[in-house]
């Protein structure tokens, strides 16, 4: 029997996979994946052809085809209607296959929900609903499923985010299937709508302020995602479900499809809430454009139009599918179907910034988005750059900069941008491009400040030792030689030194750190070498907590003009255990840093420190898991073959596991302590400010305060998964009811994110 288009001779009874079979499976995979891409033939004829090929291959490859179609339903949501049409055609030709596919989809939906894959589950639900349009699933059974979804809003003692998801899954499918469902079951749908509306009215929205990007509502209101979607669906309903944006290939096959027999969805009970359930966080819809932008081109669909929703969904899906391939991603974005009727470039830019600004965290690494924008500009050099137009923003920021105090937001923003530019180039370049009138905004020349450097420093305590050290360093002294030089340094803190002279001596730290860092100032590598070579001295001087703090203080005095150097030195010192994370946290909140508290580099350092702590915990947990697995494997092997010597092997491994267990506990405790220190310090400085304002009768909302309270929010958002573990402690110990409501509000908003 010869098959069309495969060029091989199929043998239906052969069950074993041959290399031919593998080729065929790959071929099928490729055909299914590629349908809908640019082709010489029309989409309809490609779909028809593919349906024919698949139908013919069903006897031998049914389970593979089922799996492939379920996978594309899950992973290629931007091609939803293409694949639902394909399934519709297959169902028309083979009713049993249609039934098996629906069953497979339901199984997959249950698995996704169990595995907390809620974003994928939405695509599966949407796929199922579009199958109603393709006459694969009977409308009443879909309505019944949605009834069950919305009835979750009646569940008690479950997180709001659970109820939210089921409502979202229902509402977000309606652009595709609302019309059909309403035509068949309007009374039932109206009931579901009524339930949905009452839920949306009574649900909590405490989380919203924390997730909004702009603080003002003009010109673009920052709507909570469910509120926005509800408004969009309401409008769609008012417009009699007329939706013209979605590509619907099945319309061309209506005569074939309406002959097909439909299947009923089995009754679907949402899986119950469990301890392990983690639902998606709520979102705020980010907007930066509206119909007033690009007056020359096609009009941008309004924020409450369903077209806006569908376009944004599809663009987000494209990024999700192709984030690893920047050129492909850009190409797929700019070739979005229907692009001539919408200001596509504006939508693309808005969606990219929406992801970049998404709170708590963007779905992908920041640099992906910036590089994607560059690729998009390369593809559309005539139109896209104007949309992104950073110059416009920068111009806006520069305006009034000269008349404002350097600490207010606009000048601050410009200063930080220029500092960042300097890091990617060099200081003179910045001076060359910034006009003299704006020179106050230029960053400092990132040079080292050595206090023992000039003539006037003769009178400084420790000066002679500093000179001695400098000579020693230059002649490649050893750690021991440095120790012996430092022995002579008096301790300003106490009258009589230890014999060893190793207690906290700030002057010793001062002369050592100043001199060493000054001599190693040439480059990062030089400084790292210095830290490595004299690690022993550092460890000894910084043994106590005060020692650690002082090392950081002195380092900061030397390098205060070079924030980038400060950041890399702190990083190295943590990694080589000269200082610990808690010391860095305390240093950041110390009075020495208060003047620079609102500068970007401070927060870069703090978040980098927290991340290192988190990675450290994860690493040791992994080591423990691996050791446990090794032991389990050994046990299994022992039960398989009786081996006396494995007792001894067990012993060593069990000891290792015990040690690792202790290590994990100690690391987790250090991690928790770090967050507690940070939160405590925030509460202290914020309370201080609030009390002072109250007594002085001044407004609380100074630029410093706004900056500080949002930095506190940032800690919660950027590290939310870890912090979730500490909720009870935080509530009982730090964020208690007696706390100022301004500060408590931040904690409450955070709690609301998973409530």
């Amino acid at each position: 029997v010869h098959r069309n288009g495969h060029g091989y001779c199929g043998q239906p009874h052969k069950r074993r996979k041959t290399s031919d079979a593998n080729e065929t499976e790959d071929h099928l995979e490729s055909l299914i994946c590629k349908v809908g891409e640019k082709s010489a033939c029309s989409l309809e004829s490609n779909l028809e052809g593919l349906a024919g090929v698949l139908e013919a291959d069903l006897p031998n490859y049914k389970s593979k085809i089922l799996r492939l179609l379920c996978t594309v339903a899950r992973l290629l949501p931007e091609k939803l209607t293409i694949y639902t049409t394909l399934v519709g055609l297959l169902n028309a030709r083979n009713y049993n296959f249609g039934g098996e596919f629906v069953e497979a989809m339901i199984r997959q939906l249950k698995e996704s929900l169990k595995a907390n894959n809620y974003n994928e589950a939405v695509y599966l639900v949407r796929f199922l609903s579009d199958l109603v349009n393709c006459h694969v699933i009977a409308a009443p059974s879909m309505v019944a499923m949605f009834e069950n979804f919305v009835s979750v809003t009646q569940e008690e003692d479950v997180p709001q985010v659970r109820r939210d998801w089921y409502v979202y899954a229902f509402l977000s499918s309606l652009p595709w299937v609302g019309k059909e469902l309403y035509e068949k079951k309007d009374a039932e749908m109206d009931r579901i709508f009524a339930n949905t509306e009452s839920y949306l009215k009574r649900r909590q929205k405490t989380h919203v302020p924390m997730l909004q990007v702009w603080t003002a509502d003009k010109p673009h209101p920052q709507e909570e995602y469910l509120d926005c979607l509800w408004a969009q669906i309401q409008k769609l309903k008012k417009d009699c479900w007329q939706e013209r944006h979605i590509l619907r290939p099945y319309l061309a096959f209506d005569s074939i499809l309406c002959e097909a027999l439909q299947h009923n969805l089995p009754p679907f009970t949402p899986p119950p809430h469990t301890e392990d359930s983690v639902y998606p966080m709520p979102r705020v819809i980010f907007r930066m454009f509206d119909y007033t932008d690009d007056p020359e081109g096609p009009v941008m669909p309004g924020s409450h139009s369903v077209e806006r929703f569908v376009i944004e969904e599809n663009l987000h899906c494209i990024i999700k599918s192709h984030w690893k391939e920047r050129k492909t991603c850009a190409a797929q974005l700019v070739s979005y179907p229907g692009k001539n009727k919408i200001p596509l470039n504006y939508h693309i830019v808005e969606v990219i910034f929406a992801e970049l600004f998404q709170l708590p965290a963007p779905p992908h690494i920041d640099v992906m988005y910036t590089t994607l924008l560059i690729e998009l500009c390369k593809l559309q050099p005539g139109s896209l750059p104007q949309v992104v137009s950073f110059e416009g923003w920068f111009q806006f920021a520069l305006s009034d900069c000269l008349t404002q105090d350097l600490e207010s937001p606009k000048p601050k923003f410009v200063r930080e941008v220029l500092e960042k530019c300097m890091r990617l180039s060099y200081h003179q370049r910045i001076l060359d491009i910034v006009p003299p009138t704006f020179s106050a905004l230029c960053p400092a020349n990132p040079t080292c400040i050595y206090k023992y450097g000039d003539e006037s420093s003769n009178s400084l305590p420790g000066h002679s030792v500093a000179l001695c050290l400098a000579v020693a360093f230059k002649s490649k002294a050893t750690n021991d030689e440095i120790f012996s030089i430092l022995k002579d340094v008096p301790n300003p803190n106490q009258d009589d030194d230890d014999d060893e002279g190793f207690s906290f001596n700030p002057l010793k730290i001062e002369v050592f750190v100043q001199t060493l860092l000054h001599l190693a100032a040439k480059s990062f590598s030089h400084s790292f070498s210095a830290l490595a070579k004299f690690h022993e001295v550092f460890k000894t001087l910084a043994e106590s907590d005060e020692g650690k703090l002082h090392v950081l203080r002195v380092m900061f005095e030397v390098w205060r003009n070079h924030p980038q150097m400060i950041a890399v030195l702190v990083d190295k010192m943590i990694r080589t255990q000269i200082v610990d994370c808690a010391a860095v946290a305390n240093w950041i909140f110390s009075s020495e840093l208060s003047r620079d508290f609102t500068r970007l580099f401070v927060w870069e350092i703090l978040h980098s420190t927290i991340r290192k702590m988190n990675k450290h915990v994860v690493k040791i947990q992994k080591e423990l898991e691996e050791a446990k697995e090794k032991l389990a494997r050994q046990h299994k092997r022992r039960s398989d073959d009786d081996d006396r010597s494995s007792d001894r092997k067990d012993g060593a491994l069990e000891e290792q596991i015990e040690r690792l267990q202790e290590k994990v506990e100690s690391a987790q405790s250090e991690q928790k302590n770090l967050f507690l220190v940070i939160f405590q310090r925030f509460i202290m400085i914020l309370t201080e400010h609030l009390v002072r304002c109250e007594t002085d009768g001044t407004s609380v909302l100074t630029p410093w305060y706004k900056n500080c309270i949002e930095r506190l929010q940032q800690i919660f958002l950027q590290h939310h998964q870890i912090i979730q573990q500490y909720m009870v402690t935080l509530e009982n110990l730090l964020f208690t009811a007696e706390l100022d409501p301004h500060i408590l509000a931040v904690f409450q908003q955070f709690c609301a994110l998973q409530a």
Partner: protein, 188 residues
């Protein structure tokens, strides 16, 4: 459940190995040196030595590929001679924490000669650099990143005859950021 992600979605072409292999890469081996090759006579010894060399070469390639596929180190090329370690740190930190940067040096002058190695703590961070930093600009030059089997002492030096990189020996164009004309062109 599908057997795996579909090929189209598995695509990660920026992370794939390029064609380039370091021709100086050798696996360290213990064992008889060439002069100690066993054999009854000169012809036999020659045959055995040739066979050994071929086997080692194939082994080297295999080993190099293995290392490249799990490497956390990137080679970065087409840098300006004036690009500093600090600039490289800033740019490459965008994909993750950097463990070490080693600047490429002219073997004679011991000054920067337009390349460097960037080592990350994690493979994932290095992959993101290959996906998103490779092919972008630093000091207004399009830089190129490629997997590296790992830094070894000596590899920080250019391999061109004049001390810089090989590419600067023979190129004919004028490149202000890379010492002007190519070395050969300069001599003419």
């Amino acid at each position: 459940m599908s057997g795996g992600l579909l090929k189209a979605l598995r695509s990660d072409s920026y992370v794939e190995l390029s064609q380039y292999r370091d021709q100086h890469f050798r696996v360290r081996r213990a064992g008889p040196r060439e002069g100690q090759a066993l054999g009854q006579n000169a012809e036999e010894r020659f045959a055995l030595v040739s066979l050994c060399r071929l086997a080692f070469c194939l082994g080297d390639n295999e080993e190099q590929e293995k290392l490249l596929k799990k490497s956390c180190t990137l080679y970065v090329g087409n840098l300006s001679f004036y690009t500093t370690e600090e600039q490289i740190y800033e740019l490459f930190s965008k994909s993750g924490d950097i463990k070490k940067i080693i600047m490429g040096l002219d073997k004679v002058k011991k000054t920067a000669c337009g390349f460097c190695f960037v080592e990350y703590y994690s493979r994932a961070d290095a992959e993101n650099a290959m996906r998103y930093i490779n092919g972008t600009r630093l000091d207004d030059r399009i830089i190129r990143t490629d997997w590296d089997a790992g830094f070894k002492e000596g590899r920080q030096y250019g391999r061109g005859r004049s001390g810089g990189q090989v590419r600067d020996e023979y190129r004919q164009d004028y490149d202000a950021g890379r010492g002007g004309y190519g070395k050969l062109a300069q001599k003419q």
